[in-house]
Amino acid sequence: MTSKCETTTRSLPGCAVIELSGEVDGSAADVLSKAYDEAVVADQAPCVLLDFSAVDYINSTGIALIVSVLAKARSQGRQVVASGLSDHYRQIFAITRLSDFIQLYDDIDAAAAGVGAN
């Protein structure tokens, strides 16, 4: 199945940013994994920011991908933060307890400020 997820990576002080758009489902596995590897190679920052501002759908397999990214980042000693989640997906991050491990911010600017303050 062709992925409907696209990513853009960039760097902010102290944080590698992965901006996602489209749909985060099982078909996004390769896209997200590649984006993560590119982001952390290009930027040895101790934090990875996943921005979901342009994401309109996350399903259970997408949640599993986010769990995998979180597990990989933690194994490398990196913090994961997220921004741009809708209220609905914030609820899902709370239900799944992802938000216990991933600090949530309203947008990239707030995340950058929050990470910089840490």
Binding site: M1, E23, D25, G26, S27, Y57, N59, S60, T61, I63, A64, L65, V67, S68, L70, A71, R74, S86, D87, H88, Q91, I92, I95, T96, R97, L98, D100, F101
Partner: protein
């Protein structure tokens, strides 16, 4: 499905069992309930539950066989929106990647449980009630979202006048 005089079918359709078609189901259900008395939050939760149940029907019920349909029916019961999602693939076989176990993020992060296995958990947390039934090869998941003022209804969707949108059959913990 037995209908009462208060119940009204909003839509009924089928999607082929191909990965990604849960999005078609989600969209069509959302269109069908657009005029229903659901809050924006309820609508989003119903959409997620419908997508997850349809995905389970496609994958675990019909085993991604496109010649098998997943049938979706949306009914306004007068007290709730009821969405029935039916696959025709016979008994569901549990996945071997931890779908049966309650998802535990600590275990997943420790590598002791598959990262997957969130579907049923999400469904149960998104809707007001859910039940599962099997009739021959037909496997039905019925989702309920209570409509109207929640203050006048109990958590399981019963109204003070006893008009209950209770699903047929009882709760069922089997894998969907």
């Amino acid at each position: 499905m037995t209908m009462t005089s208060r119940e009204r079918v909003l839509t009924s359709f089928a999607v082929p069992s191909e990965p990604g078609n849960e999005r078609l189901a989600l969209t069509r259900v959302a269109e069908a309930v657009a005029a229903a008395d659901l809050t924006a939050d309820q609508l989003e939760r119903l959409k997620t539950a419908v997508a997850e149940a349809t995905m389970n029907a496609i994958e675990h019920g019909n085993h991604n066989r496109p010649e098998l349909d997943v049938d979706v029916t949306v009914v306004d019961t007068g007290a709730a929106i009821a969405v029935s999602i039916v696959d025709n693939g016979g008994a569901h076989e549990p996945e071997n990647d931890g779908h049966i176990a309650l998802p535990d993020l600590d275990l997943k992060l420790a590598g002791l449980q598959s990262p997957r296995g969130w579907g049923l958990f999400l469904i149960r947390n998104m809707v007001d009630a859910m039940d599962v039934s099997t009739d021959g090869d037909k496997h039905t998941v019925r989702l309920l979202m209570v409509t109207g003022d929640p203050a006048t209804q109990t958590p399981d969707g019963q109204t003070p006048d006893g008009q209950a949108p209770t699903p047929e059959g009882g709760p069922d913990d089997q894998q969907v």
